[in-house]
């Protein structure tokens, strides 16, 4: 049995060579020892690591929609799960968050269809000349 679950992913910050979180990277060139920066990306709910159970994956910005092979009860548990967690925002800074911050929501087929079309813009992509499948 498969369920659709939508999550709001958590944005990771960029940080400088001292491990301090940057509010902006505008104008920075990432030169070693001068204005280097790294980091960025997103924090995902643990369920995404259960590769064999995930049947479809749609991601745009901070919105993740997955089709996962679990029961309805298991899926609903993600909506109510209340667990304090931490992620590494930089080498020296850990940030706390709650599983609730992912705002998990189990969606029905109609809601999924609408989200796919309206938000993800899922329609067949037509490869241009030279691309064959």
């Amino acid at each position: 049995m498969t369920q659709w679950i939508k999550f709001e992913l958590i944005i990771r910050p960029f940080w400088n060579r001292y491990g301090d979180i940057l509010s902006s990277i505008d104008g920075m060139r990432n030169r070693k020892g001068v204005d280097e920066f790294t980091g960025g990306g997103k924090v995902y709910p643990d369920i995404v690591n259960q590769k064999g159970k995930i049947k479809e994956w749609h991601e745009k910005g901070t919105v993740l929609l997955i089709k996962v092979n679990i029961t309805e009860v298991e899926a609903k548990e993600h909506e109510t799960k209340d667990e304090k967690l931490k992620y590494k925002a930089s080498p020296k800074i850990e940030k706390e968050y709650n599983y609730k911050d992912f705002k998990a929501k189990v969606l029905n087929d109609i809601q999924v269809k609408k989200l796919k079309e309206d938000f993800f813009g899922i329609k067949p992509l037509s490869p241009e000349s030279g691309v064959t499948n």
């Binding site: 960029f14 990277i25 104008g27 920075m28 990306g41 995902y44 995404v48 691309v131 499948n133």
Partner: protein, 274 residues
Amino acid sequence: MFRSDVDRRGFLKSCYKIGGIAAIMGLGISAVEDAMGWGILPAVVGSGGSRWVSWNELSEEGLGDTSRNFVIFGENTSAGGDETGLGIVSGADLVFTQSGNIAGATGTPPHRPLVSASSQYFTFTNGLFDATLGGTNTWTLIMKIADIANGGTQLIFDCYGDPRVYLYKQATNEFSAHANAQHVGVTTDTVTNSGIVYFCMWSDGVYIRSGFKLLTKPTKWSDFDSGKRNSTKVNYSMPSWVNGTLFINNSAFLGDFTFYYLVMSRACLINNSA
């Protein structure tokens, strides 16, 4: 040290007026690169091509510069982390945004696996496209990967829009490169599905050429076996980006491979005469 690029530019300009090239060189390679990029110094100290030839592929600093070259490694050790490159652009244009919770980098040189089943890909900005490929008839794209899966259309590098520029492995495993319909090269040889491979396309204002090379970094036309390369005689200036999405691993034609690095340059890094 400087409040802005304007301050640094003014400082380098003054140095050049007082002490000439020697004064700039005395400030280190980043000052030379900035001075060249800002037009204070003529771009004579090390061409893009010569830096590519001597580069040991172990650091972005060895190739990226502020006037021509951009390089980005798959080196972020955090799962779900973006990548930050080095070179001709700044700020958000240096960032390749990941999707799909891509595993963190491992190894030396570092590399990250991209998995199609998890819809894993990077996107980058049109600012980077315009700074490297846009509005020039000399440019280079080189992508070093490993262990690309057998079969399936795998658009490992794709500027999917207008203009259209891509490097990909066909379902039948040949390498195909496309430069906005000016060059459409499909090799006769197929790409092996294990080990290192370099996917390349470049333009020197006379030819647009493409090819793939196994194991070691190509630096000249003759490094590509005859069945692994293609050439079109055309002097074509690539237009600036209009619209679309810029991918490493197009989300609609996902590949499975290990990403090492991508080089984008507004110089021709491959020697066409050798």
